[in-house]
Symmetry: C2
Subunit: 432 residues, 2 copies
């Protein structure tokens, strides 16, 4: 959930709220609308630096600045009742004690609705904001992330659920035998503990991940309870799903204990043509200077010398990513796009999209769910507030009618709604 | 503001809410009551570790765990309208980029009501939770703190107030000429910037400090806008006030740009005797095992061998702090306390206290204000919710009647209410 949409032209769309990044009332409206639509959760990505792009593109970006996610979700917890609240926190540029505390605190304040999206931070500029000259290497980042997970969950288990007896008569506030000092000393991290906050309502906030590399898929299979994946096609989705669930089988983990949720950009129209027109209008709002840079990256050639209003010329093979080039060329041919339209599509939002009527979108979602491509979706709205409201008012009822989606929340916590078990405390197993 | 009071026996007081540390509804009631009483702000201290005390004392402490302050204040910002929201954040165990972002975010979410209490963290156990074997030395901590302040305020100034033009026609979201990259490289910290959040509503959240050492008073004179001081007596308060304001004179800073606010524990009764009885009852709820440890520390001798219900015997001089011993002995003689009562007083809350009727408390506050001992108070309530409600319902009206306290908030932001100017942006001075 980005407050102005992930699409870079969305802040210019008719009816958009361009200042939504700093408008708490706007977020409140979005969160309450998601809750009206029975969404599991609102997810906020995070960045440890201003986005790493040239100034000419950056100055057109509505996501250049934003609220800090934990403070924002905490504020939103007071204006919602059932909606889960998931934020990204980097394991590379944070200390596990802080991360454990903040998510535990959000979990307590929200009555068990917190989720932590564990990321290792891809933007190398972040290093420069945290006293490092160079970004930590990929392998190193994942090694730290895996240990970081152990420390954070160990800190969450510092206190038994029944530690706080609060016996006013004897004056004993907690039972010291129900407190565990972690004393973690590992290759990357050294953290004594205990955490200075009671065990979270959910035991642990729901652990989410979004990495798609080999290391990312392995750590997800080992530790995640939800994964935000980014497949471009149904076949991609099925491959990713089979890979991660297969890793879980080999680890002896129950497949249902991890939900795979592809990011999906949904444009709703009364007709298919109407939906496509909305998307075309949205894409047309991406400035050509920014758009052509995206196209050049995808093709591996300087696209600024092409006629913007002509068809895409033949593109020679280059050293750049073959799959990116082929996807771009196929898209231009399939939808008969001009160079400008192709550039604006790639510069706007280039990932998985479902563009159509409530029925056609529900058909597509049903196919993904029925063919082992996902367990749900990380829905992205093309423009706000309109795109969100259209989804909740038209797509959600269609999914409910088909029995594909809840009509009421199953429980009070994010875990209960996702159908995930509450983790046992590793230091204080349930009493027989 | 501690949710169960700073007094260690308060959770056992009749009518107390012992679970208030994890009860958001309780905090909401407290915050709204403070706002009804026109308080400038609610202040939350913070700890980077469980309090450093023996298990036998710790297990009786209601402050052993708590919400994380930033997430809590952010949630409270949505249920209040004018109340300032001040949290502690350590410069020793945090990164300036995170601190700058979080307080900027709280300032935006709350509409300009955030304050940052800059501390260097005194609890040596915190080091062990952040990968260090030893606590950073005092001088080193203050050196880092001073540079940390420069970096955080520099990051807050990353964006001119008018940077975000959001011109949907041209597609320009912000003016790159109104963005400053900090590029800080100092002896302790290296932070590139810019901050990925717009300049705070207040320019900078209000900067608060609480250190009383030589280094603490100097950094306060240089940088703070409010100081939580901890004098025991009026004369102490006057000495501290003269010292810090004198340092400001020498630095060329306007004396009014820093407010000195002594911590003051206020027990309100209908009569003086009634107030004293409340305090005696409260002190009696401190467990003797914990209390006698505090007394032993103060006296520099093992007080557990004294008769708890007898008078304090003669105490020989020792190597321990002379002032602490003399204060304890004088207190016992003055109020004719038994060993148990003295121990419970010291173990409950030993600092500056005003115990009396609304009129006598207003008299005392008036004297402090009129004799250059303070600019206001950091009021601490003996038990909650009763002690807070008694203060708001009886002491506040008495102060208002005397013209010593506001009847309505002066402004919308914490700065406006404290009478502090909005800082100019050092990189984008006001246009002529």
């Amino acid at each position: 959930m980005r407050p102005v949409s992930i699409h870079t032209g969305a802040w210019r769309y008719p009816g958009a709220w361009p200042d939504a990044n700093f408008n708490f009332a706007a977020y409140k409206h979005f969160a309450r609308t998601l809750e009206r639509g029975k969404f599991d959760a609102l997810f906020l990505a995070d960045h440890m630096a201003v986005l790493n792009m040239p100034t000419e593109a950056l100055k057109r970006s509505h996501t250049v600045t934003s609220f800090e996610p934990l403070t924002l979700l905490s504020a939103l917890s007071t204006v919602t009742e059932r909606l889960g609240l998931i934020a990204t926190a980097s394991t590379t540029y944070n200390e596990p004690y802080h991360v454990a505390r903040k998510f535990a605190s959000l979990d307590h304040i929200s009555g068990g609705r917190a989720g932590w999206n564990l990321v290792t931070t891809a933007n190398p500029d972040a290093a420069l904001n945290f006293g490092h000259d160079e970004h930590m290497a990929h392998g190193e980042r994942y090694k730290r992330a895996r240990e970081f997970f152990d420390v954070v969950t160990g800190l969450w288990d510092s206190w038994a659920d029944d530690a706080f007896v609060r016996d006013a008569g004897s004056g004993v506030f907690f039972d010291p035998d129900r407190l565990h000092v972690l004393n973690h000393k590992g290759p990357e991290l050294s953290v004594r503990g205990p955490l200075n906050i009671a065990r979270p309502v959910q035991g642990w906030p729901v652990v989410v991940q979004a990495g798609s590399s080999e290391a990312g898929r392995q750590i997800a299979a080992e530790t995640a309870e939800a994964v935000f994946s980014a497949p471009s096609t149904l076949a991609d989705g099925q491959r990713f799903y089979a890979d991660v669930k297969g890793r879980m089988d080999r680890l002896g983990r129950d497949r249902d204990s991890l939900k795979i949720l592809p990011g999906c950009f949904v444009v709703v129209g009364e007709t298919l043509a109407g939906a496509r027109e909305k998307r075309a209008l949205l894409d047309s709002l991406v400035h050509y200077d920014s758009a052509v840079a995206s196209l050049s990256v995808a093709l591996g050639v300087d696209a600024s010398r092409f006629d913007p209003d002509g068809p895409l010329p033949e593109i020679p093979e280059t050293e750049s990513s073959k799959s990116g080039r082929e996807r771009a060329i196929a898209l231009a041919r399939r939808e008969n796009l001009t160079v400008r339209q192709l550039a604006q599509r790639l510069g706007g939002y280039a990932g998985l999209a479902m563009v159509g009527t409530p029925a056609s979108i529900a058909d597509a979602m049903e196919e993904w769910l029925a063919t082992d491509a996902c367990d749900g979706f990380n829905v992205m709205f093309p423009y706000l507030p309109g795109g969100l409201e259209e989804f909740v008012d038209h797509v959600v009822p269609e999914l409910q009618r088909r029995g594909l989606f809840r009509r009421e929340y199953e429980g009070a916590t994010l875990r209960e709604n996702l159908g995930l078990p509450r983790p046992a405390n590793r230091f204080f197993p349930p009493r027989p």
